[in-house]
């Protein structure tokens, strides 16, 4: 999945807009392979799970339909996008159930804090509708993005720690082996560079929205955090959930609806107070 930088808009995910049962062919192939797995919940066998993707590639309505101060804007990774989950089971959907405020969901699976930082600036700089509250679900601190093969294309997927780039990828994009080597042997092994990146992501993203009078709320899964003495953790809620709580999501990888609800329960008081 690639992201396209557009100066006058949010990052654009290069997927076709519309409603579909699977986000991409790989997800469908995985489901076909797993559908008889005893862990596959019945709620995922009836074809009711669908993604409604807007023209920018996000699982949300078109940006223009949101009105100032009447929605909640959320950023995050696959947990926030709701990969392999019904929309109504994602943690932020419970905010809508409680407050009737719609959600603008800018979560993008597989992405990290740098994407959130970039999108935060793009959002405010382009005077997009003003949310009542912004919630940042900070993905894994180690996630790192590298640019792709064209001027304005980002490959937001973090290199694998244990695997080298597949040959067909390394052939097409020879720089990936350098990125993987540096990421594995330097960025993860000596996390100071990562620590500063995480700090910058946090400060900049919050500042851009606070500067236009929009309050922000920050949370992160405990397992996604690395020790960071640049961060003021009083401003970042840590959520502790067990990812294996059944039912697991349709891809048998992501935490399921109960885990999402548990996450919401741990942060709802703070969020509702801000609203």
């Amino acid at each position: 999945m690639e992201l396209e930088i557009q100066r006058d808009s949010l990052l654009k995910r290069r997927v076709s807009p519309g409603t579909r049962e699977f986000l991409h062919a790989g997800e469908q192939a995985r489901f076909e392979s797993d559908k008889d797995d005893p862990r596959m919940a019945d709620i995922y066998k009836d074809g009711s799970l669908s993604y409604s993707i807007n023209s920018l590639g996000y699982r949300t309505g078109e940006i223009e339909q949101y009105r100032d101060n009447s929605f909640v804007l959320v950023f995050g990774c696959s947990y926030t996008e709701g990969v392999a989950l019904h929309n109504e089971d994602i943690w932020h959907s419970h905010i809508t159930k409680k407050t009737r405020l719609p959600i603008m969901n800018l979560g993008l699976g597989g992405t990290g804090g740098e994407v959130i930082r970039l999108n935060s600036i793009q959002y405010v700089a382009n005077n997009l509708p003003k949310p009542k509250l912004v919630i940042f679900q900070w993905p894994g601190d180690h996630r790192k993005l590298f640019a792709g093969y064209a001027d304005n294309i980002i490959n937001p997927h973090t290199p694998h720690i244990e695997e080298d780039p597949e040959p067909h990828i390394a052939d097409r994009m020879p720089w990936t082996k350098y990125d993987t080597e540096w990421y594995r042997n330097r960025y993860v092994a000596y996390p100071n560079e990562c620590v500063q990146t995480v700090y910058q992501n946090y400060i900049i993203s919050n500042t851009v929205f606070n500067s236009i009078g929009v309050p922000t709320y920050n949370w992160q899964y405990f397992a996604d955090r690395i020790d960071n003495d640049l961060m003021d953790y009083k401003q970042l809620a840590l959520v502790n959930v067990t990812g294996r709580t059944e039912p697991i999501a349709r891809d048998l990888m992501h935490p399921g609806k109960n885990c999402q609800l548990n996450s919401y329960e741990q942060i709802k008081n703070d969020i509702l107070e801000l609203l």
């Binding site: 001027d151 980002i154 620590v195 700090y199 851009v208």
Partner: protein
């Protein structure tokens, strides 16, 4: 060269903090003696005391501390050696000359050898502290964006000058060789910089775009008037950038031979005056 980073302050040049010298890391006494001996030294710099480098408590070239200024009474200038004024007296730098023209004080955050990442980190901390009410707001900010291929990597310092809570921002240049020996941070960073960052430009272009956009956005939050420029045309090939926002000032705006500074590498005082005139015209 390294800079100390912490979350509560502007990046600090610990080795330069509160010092005064006739020489700097790039404009050294050794080079001067060699050039004098070779008979190529510029006449006004024949005295070893011709130039003074005063560094404030943060290690930046200034007679002032930020606390000396009130809101809207000074110009903040970010950049590399061209801004710091290597090989020049401070009164010959474009920032000082611009301040004189506009009747404003100046705070020079230029760092010789500095990178865009360093400027980006400086601006982040600078704006953060202004928004917290800890520093005065500037009347004008000038940002001279250094070469996009320089890079600043962060590591835990081994230098005893650094407090335990500090990180070290270490400046790398792709023209330097990859160090031999064990794959330390320095080795791995330099290797990636040379083999990847400087060789396949797409990542550099995205990073440059990100840094310029967010720095300017942050400066907008303190309502600062900002003038962005480059001195070498390095950004011209980046299609992501808004070239209306970043002015390209010729390295040598005049004609004829380039007047030089004392180190015989950087542009001289006449060129700095031309920079100041051009920037004033943009103001």
């Amino acid at each position: 060269m390294s800079i100390a980073f912490s979350s509560s302050a502007i990046p600090k040049r610990v080795h330069q903090a509160s010092t005064r010298s006739f020489w700097s890391t790039d404009d050294t006494e050794y080079k001067w003696k060699r050039n004098v001996k070779a008979g190529v030294m510029i006449e006004k710099y024949l005295s070893p005391e011709a130039i003074t480098y005063n560094y404030n408590s943060l290690g930046y070239r200034s007679d002032n501390e930020l606390s000396d200024f009130s809101d809207d009474s000074y110009i903040a200038s970010f950049g590399c050696s061209m801004t710091e004024g290597v090989g020049l007296n401070y009164t010959d730098t474009y920032c000082h000359l611009l301040g004189e023209e506009l009747n404003l004080g100046t705070m020079n955050f230029g760092v010789a050898g500095g990178s865009m990442h360093l400027v980006d980190a400086q601006i982040l901390q600078y704006v953060k502290l202004i928004l917290a009410g800890e520093l005065p707001k500037p009347s004008l900010v000038t940002v001279q964006w250094p070469s996009p291929y320089r890079y600043t990597f962060v590591r835990k310092p081994v230098d005893p000058y650094y407090a335990p809570s500090m990180y070290e921002m270490f400046l790398h240049n792709p023209n330097f060789p990859i160090p031999d020996g064990e794959p330390t941070c320095t080795h791995l960073d330099q290797k990636w910089l040379v083999q990847r960052y400087a060789t396949y430009p797409e990542h550099e272009q995205v990073e440059t775009y990100k840094m310029i956009e967010r720095s300017n956005f942050l400066l907008d939050t303190i309502c600062a008037r900002v003038i962005n420029f480059t001195l070498s045309g390095d950004q011209n090939d980046n299609p992501l950038l808004n070239h209306d926002k970043i002015h390209d000032i010729p390295f040598h705006p005049g004609s004829g031979e380039l007047p030089l500074a004392r180190d015989l590498a950087h542009p001289g005082s006449e060129v700095q005056q031309q920079y100041a005139n051009i920037i004033k015209g943009l103001y």
